[in-house]
């Protein structure tokens, strides 16, 4: 187990910079998920930790030692690749035991450890097979076994679940988290799937365009997104975002709808982006902050229903329980609780804090 310190790390391919000065501390034993759209630099960051990409500027330290100039094998990391990268000409046992063979362990010792690992992953019956004869889930387990057997200081996962079908993905996700709970090895997991990030992570790192947008627990990321990007990226369906303007102390306005908000110190006339989560509005006009939506389309998702429509001409989505009675299409009134309104600076996209939730993660 080891902590990882990433200090002002940059990566450029020629003149094209893909990672712009990332700072991140990962505590020993922590499960950190790096989340972002494709091309945001998350895989590059992971590969720099692994030693598969050179670091253009900055430092990476694992367990206190700067590893910038160390070969991958000297860093004590093990990696699970997106396409598993199993050696096609070796059996499952040889694949799992390859790291030990390279390390020069004796054959009986290797066999014993391969069997232990295979047993813990339910692969005992498949040890003599070649990877080509395995299913996707089994290959995934072999890749995990190959990483586990070396008892590394750090586990690195590069989108390991993206090649699996939906059902298997959920299953493997749970297995990976259980494995982490059992072994407690520091883990960095890269994905573009927010559900994976929310379910697996102790802390989520949201990246965009080579920058870190926010670092926080899944709950913090969801409750208090640090920027407009995070707000729009996390949550399914995503947060409703539209442009508005501060019209008075504790009051914003957009498309003629006036919302009172708990934010203090807002200058009237300041342009802002208003964010409202689809699941935080309440159907039916009761208190203040009431607006109405013209629903022209509804989606039934089993436990919940999504109502798609326009609020004063802007697209808007509302999520209601599937048991909600009444018509599914038409004009509805709804209330936006003041605490459910997120405000972001219209220019920088940064969150405008409230007295209650002043936590503004470093961007």
């Amino acid at each position: 187990m080891a902590d990882i310190d990433i200090r002002s790390v940059r990566k450029a391919y020629g003149k094209n910079q893909v990672v712009h000065g990332v700072d991140l501390s990962i505590r020993s034993g922590e499960f950190v998920v790096v989340l972002g759209p494709s091309g945001c630099g998350k895989s590059t960051l992971l590969r720099m930790i692994a030693g598969l990409e050179a670091i253009t500027a900055g430092e990476i330290a694992i367990a206190g030692d700067v590893v910038n100039n160390l070969e991958p094998r000297e860093r004590g990391c093990a990696m699970v690749f997106q396409n598993y990268a199993l050696y096609p000409h070796m059996t499952v046992a040889e694949n799992i035991g390859y790291g030990l063979k390279v390390a020069g362990l004796s054959k009986p010792e290797r066999t014993a450890r391969v069997e232990t690992v295979a047993k813990s992953l339910g692969l005992s019956e498949y040890l003599d097979r070649k990877p080509g004869q395995l299913s996707g889930g089994q290959r995934q387990r072999v890749a995990m076994g190959r990483a586990m057997i070396r008892e590394p200081k750090v586990f690195l996962f590069d989108e390991p679940l993206s090649n699996l079908d939906a059902k298997l993905r959920v299953q493997m996700r749970i297995e990976i988290r259980k494995l982490h709970n059992r072994l407690g090895t520091t883990s960095v997991f890269v994905t573009h799937d927010q559900v994976e990030a929310m379910t697996l992570a102790d802390r989520v790192v949201v990246m965009n365009g080579g920058h870190i947008e926010q670092v926080g627990t899944p709950e913090e990321i969801y409750r208090n997104p640090a920027s407009r990007f995070v707000a729009g990226f996390i949550g399914s369906p995503p947060m409703n975002l539209f442009d508005g303007r501060v019209t008075g102390p504790g009051e914003v306005q957009a498309h003629g709808i006036v919302l009172s908000v708990p934010h203090a110190g807002l200058k009237p006339g300041r342009p802002v982006t208003i964010g409202i989560r689809p699941e935080e509005v309440v159907l039916g006009a009761a208190g203040s902050n009431v607006a109405s939506i013209d629903v022209d389309f509804s989606e039934e998702l089993g436990s919940v229903r999504l109502l798609h429509g326009q609020v004063a001409g802007a697209d808007f989505v509302i999520q209601v329980p599937a048991t909600t009675a009444g018509p599914k299409i038409g004009r509805f009134s709804f209330e936006v609780p003041a605490r459910a309104v997120h405000l972001f600076d219209a220019e920088t996209g940064n969150r405008i804090g409230t007295a209650a939730s002043g936590a503004r993660a470093a961007a």
């Binding site: 692994a50 030693g51 598969l52 070969e71 991958p72 094998r73 990391c77 093990a78 990696m79 690749f81 997106q82 396409n83 990268a85 199993l86 050696y87 096609p88 000409h89 390859y98 790291g99 390279v102 390390a103 080509g132 190959r146 070396r150």
Partner: protein, 294 residues
């Protein structure tokens, strides 16, 4: 979906095939047939009739110690040139694949020799390796007779092996590089994460996955070395000194066109053909089974 074009009348199809068939017949079946015919007859050197000889031509060939000498030298040449051409090509391809500095320039330059005709290569090597000029003249000055292929048979053999391999190195290089680049990068990276250094990765991951290519090139190199060395030999050593570089294929030419023993040369051609076919069969039968195909 069947996308084949079908000709309603047979003669159009035949007409379109005719040029190709004519070429194959003229340059392959006809000469082979003639050689087969001559191998079993006694052919007069200036034409004008022949008589059936049965297996006498073959008996003559096999009882000739000079022939067995040529067979032995062909084996040495085949092993030497194949090992050199494949070994160096693999090494260069691995360097290029690792994208060391300047690999693009090497890549292009390494492919060129294959475009050079054998006679041109032969002449070039004859001058490069001449004992009285260039680098070897300097070495000979320090140590007389250090290098002299025109009187030393071993030197002459080394000369033709090097000249021949130079050309096949380019051919092998193209195949090795293509095969190396088709190995997923993640496999090599996974091996690096598992703790192996560049040499270990090459040995454990890249070479096993190159096995089909290695096998293919082994077959091509060995068979070609038996039949394709004529141009190099003729222009560098002329089969000498004292027959030290007279390989099977050169002996066929020499006996046939210089000695005017058409029947003996034809018999040797048939033996060479059977040898190449046999070697190819053995390689496919016994080596291919040990090759991993993905």
């Amino acid at each position: 979906m069947d996308r084949r074009a079908v000709y309603k009348t047979a003669w159009i199809g035949s007409l379109l095939l005719a040029p190709q068939l004519l070429l194959v017949f003229t340059f392959f079946y006809w000469p082979t047939g003639a050689a087969l015919f001559w191998a079993f007859t006694l052919e007069r050197p200036w034409g004008g009739g022949n008589e059936f000889a049965g297996l006498d031509n073959f008996r003559m060939v096999f009882s000739d110690t000079a022939y067995w000498g040529a067979v032995w030298r062909s084996m040495v040449f085949a092993l030497g040139s194949t090992a050199l051409a494949m070994g160096l090509a693999l090494l260069f391809a691995l360097f290029c694949d690792r994208q060391l500095r300047g690999y693009k320039a090497y890549q292009t330059m390494l492919i060129w020799p294959y475009a050079v005709a054998a006679p041109a290569a032969g002449v070039a090597f004859r001058f490069l390796f001449a004992p009285e000029a260039g680098i070897f003249a300097a070495l000979n000055k320090i140590h007389p007779e250090f290098w002299n292929p025109s009187i030393n048979g071993i030197h002459a053999m080394i000369l033709i092996v090097v000249a021949y391999s130079w050309k096949y190195l380019a051919y092998n290089f193209i195949f090795f590089l293509a095969a190396l680049q088709s190995i997923p990068r993640a496999l090599v990276e996974a091996s690096a994460m598992d703790g192996s250094g560049p040499l270990r990765r090459m040995w454990d991951i890249q070479l096993p996955l190159l096995a089909p290519t290695l096998f293919f090139l082994l077959v091509i190199n060995i068979t070609d070395s038996f039949v394709d060395s004529f141009g190099i030999i003729d222009l560098t050593t002329g089969g000498g000194p004292s027959k030290a570089t007279t390989l099977m294929v050169y002996k066929i030419y020499f006996d046939g066109f210089k000695g005017l023993d058409y029947s003996g040369a034809a018999a040797q051609s048939i033996v060479l053909m059977l040898l190449v076919m046999g070697l190819t069969f053995v390689q496919f039968r016994f080596i291919e089974r040990r090759v991993h195909y993905r």
